[in-house]
Symmetry: C2
Subunit: 94 residues, 2 copies
Amino acid sequence: MDTINESESLAKYAKALSHPTRLAILKHLENQSCCCTGDLIELFPLAQSTISQHLKELKNAGLIQGELNPPKIKYCINQTHWQQAQVLFLQFFS
Amino acid sequence: MDTINESESLAKYAKALSHPTRLAILKHLENQSCCCTGDLIELFPLAQSTISQHLKELKNAGLIQGELNPPKIKYCINQTHWQQAQVLFLQFFS
DNA sequence: ATTAACTATCGTAAATTTACGATGGGTAGA
DNA sequence: TCTACCCATCGTAAATTTACGATAGTTAAT
């Protein structure tokens, strides 16, 4: 990956991490390994649609992935992109 | 620092890093150790006021500091907060 | 005192983000 | 098929972000 794309990727990951609720969701996923939207609704004083929106942004950034687990949807960390983000932040602060 | 403040601090730092221009400014400061606004204006295809605005956000986030070096203003990385950010990101991805 | 150089701030417009309620879509079981 | 449950998406409003040009402020030298 060239420098420009690295910079854009890093900015994209940073943006995903730039909201406390999204940080909390990710931290929860780190502990629980996975969870569904309903679990998060009980954790945060936010509307269901708002949680869903944050999940969508995390998914768009590539940091999480969701799979069907009827009638629920199971979200977990996308290890590939997670590790890529880790490397990029590490490099940046090196 | 308790968990809540750590989360807010991390979100604040992530927000500062969430724009490619600000990432580039920081990377430039890492290489040059310091620079002034004018140097950056030549590096980016952006208006002077826009650069100044990005510098202000980086300063508000605590990642850089500026000192008078008349007739210029010399910006450099705020090592204390920089290292704190580094630790917080490291912890987060641990 | 004036001027020149450098940079912050103001005012503003367009785009994006964040939040909500309401609606819609999909699946499992009755 | 119908219902209940879970969740995404739509529509929307308020707040924030990003960009610009224009203006104001600060310092050094004339």
